[in-house]
Amino acid sequence: MINDTERPESKNPVEDFLRMDRIPHIWCSGCGIGVVVSSFAEALRKSTLDLNKVAIVSGIGCTGRVAGYVKLDSFHSTHGRPIAFATGLKLANPELKVVVFSGDGDLFGIGGNHFIHAARRNMDMVVICVNNFNYAMTGGQVAPTTPIDANLSTAPYGNFEHPFSLPYLADACGANYVARWTCLHIRRVTNSMQEALNKKGFSLIEVIAPCVTLFARRNRLGDGLNLLKYYYDNSVIQHGADTRTLDISYQGKMICGKFIDRERATFLDGMNTHLKKALGDKYIPYGVQS
């Protein structure tokens, strides 16, 4: 590994936010996860939050490895469960800003129930979902986000199941903030992350990212550059779009943007307000910063 003194250029400013002793990472060349992590590190760099009070939780899978590379209090939990883990973490220590960083299979397949309930409760957390349309760590199987007709190892004749539209689901469940980007929209992803980090309540940022080794190869879509070209040609920014219109078809248009930005009471605010009203001065408020 090259050390800093041998480098002609100064160190990358995001290095302070990563565990450089764990680099190189495990992701394939052409994978989009690293780009999303860079955007996140950039959002942390620009953030005015006390980063000692920001925690990150991942599940299992390719994106599940993110927690291990980000220099925050970081938790690599079980498959599908990072949102439940984050719920406990946040409620135990309400001064934390908790970020869940995981993949589409983890968050919406095995972990779907936790997602809908955390959004319903408006649990104060930022969920960043890297959507690569397949289960990549296990070798490219069909996922709840796989577009119809895409070919994967457990859909060897093409997928015929209807996929989730993640922003529509998050909206319906009550999230405070919902955005979708591709990993080509680096600055916009960073901006969304900054907005979500500064927002109370449940946020979902979906970032569509290429899986070159499995999804692209199996579907003969070319390399990373071909996929980014596809994103460039087919992503349409439409802020505030009706979330019912956000389905993604195989190699079709992808509507991106910020769709939802609203204020519903968070779980803790709701709990404190309600119990104070119901119980009066006997209630001991919880996690309220004085």
Binding site: R81, G88, L89, H114
Partner: protein, 388 residues
């Protein structure tokens, strides 16, 4: 490890008439539990209800999660957020928790699960007693690990052992199970809750050294690593993957050996300190009845009748079931004629007794599939048979 007095806010000092489920909730509050995540399941729900009713006046959080998987996982998160945490469940919910019990063991996370056992398998007998989850408590998650399991036989002991469970969990950084049952859970008896200054609670060993030197999985002299909580500026990492002292994943056989043996040894090496057994007339006993939970109370009747009939019967009640009192069984196997083990399952702990009696003396199981407690006569019959 820091011994402190209980926070009086959580201690409902006085003499009460409580069922075992309620007593567990009171024990948790007295021990300093301020986070409870649970999912309703008969016959354990009353503990969650009691906690939900009481916590607004104590200061803390009750959350009803979407399922038991979410409940146990939220506990792990909340424990790393610095709280003492618990949940309560019964067989089907306990089954759902298994994977993340493994995560809690791997991350060395203190947490408490009370399992108010009912008849199984599957939905089984939701409203009726069983003790069929004893081996599941020991082995339910995949891989090798050790946990601690306690078995109360009364509402008073539900209260007392819940405090003990929290203290053990904090000391050894391990999940501790309160393996009670529907009978004890729903039995109302007098429960005396002492004043807060007479309740000793233990807090986990918080790291206080220089931040840059903190290693989340470096065992201290006593074998237990120091803990920190999220938000204190350590920027630490923890994972369910096999990991080194830094908490970083290392995927090879050497690290696996170190990591996994540590999880077992930190409990087994302290088995004598953790173990807690109640013995009666065991010194000259020819027969020893080994039992736990509600079955101990049923067996007591049989033991009394046997003594009246002139049989020298001693009793060994497993207040701590896991780690198992293997040394004590080995010792007794040298002096007694037989062990009699009644339990509301088909011989889960009896097999363990048999294993450590190691063929020296017979072990006679008195099995029962649950749904009701034993008829004391069945236990008496086994004692008489053993005495012959």
């Amino acid at each position: 490890m820091k011994k402190v007095k209980a926070d009086p806010k959580g201690v409902l000092t006085g003499s009460h008439y409580l069922d075992g489920d309620f007593a567990i909730a009171e024990g948790a509050l007295a021990a300093g539990c301020r986070f409870f995540a649970g999912y309703p399941i008969t016959p354990s729900t009353e503990t969650a209800e009691r906690f939900a009713e009481r916590i607004p006046f104590v200061g803390g959080v009750f959350i009803q999660m979407e399922d038991e998987i979410a409940s146990i996982t939220a506990l792990i998160g909340a424990s790393w957020g610095g709280r003492k945490v618990m949940t309560v469940t019964s067989g089907p919910g306990f089954s759902l928790m298994m994977e993340n019990i493994g995560l809690a063991c791997m991350m060395e996370t203190p947490l408490i699960i009370a399992n108010v056992q009912r008849g199984g398998p599957s939905t089984g007998l939701p409203t009726l007693v069983g003790q069929g989850d004893m081996m599941q408590a020991r082995w339910g998650s995949h891989g090798d690990y050790q946990i601690i399991a306690l078995s109360p036989d009364s509402p008073q002991e539900c209260f007392d052992l819940t405090i003990r469970a929290f203290n053990l969990s904090e000391i050894y950084r391990v999940p501790v199970f309160i393996m009670t049952d529907e009978c004890v859970g729903h039995m109302h008896e007098k429960v005396v809750i002492p004043p807060a200054d007479q309740i000793e609670v233990v807090d986990r060993k918080w790291y206080e050294g220089p931040k840059e030197k903190y290693l989340p999985y470096k065992p201290d002299k006593d074998g237990i690593p120091f803990m920190v909580k999220a938000g204190d500026g350590y920027r630490f990492h923890t994972t369910g993957l096999t990991h080194d002292e830094r908490g970083y994943p290392v995927i090879n056989a050497e690290c696996q050996d170190q990591c996994v043996r540590h999880l077992s040894e930190k409990i087994l090496k302290n088995a004598d300190k953790i173990g807690h057994y109640e013995e009666d007339q065991i010194d000259n006993a020819e027969i020893v009845v080994v039992s736990y939970g509600i079955t101990s109370r049923v067996a007591y009747r049989a033991v009394q009748l046997a003594r009246k009939a002139g049989i020298k019967v001693g009793t060994l009640r497993l207040v701590t079931v896991w780690p198992f009192p293997e040394k004590r069984i080995q010792q007794l196997a040298r002096s007694v004629k037989a062990f009699v083990v009644p339990e509301l399952n088909l011989g889960q702990i009896a097999k363990e007794v048999e294993r450590f009696a190691a063929g020296r003396v017979p072990t006679i199981p008195v099995t029962h599939c649950g749904g009701w407690v034993h008829d004391p006569d069945d236990i008496l019959k086994a004692i008489k048979e053993a005495a012959q």
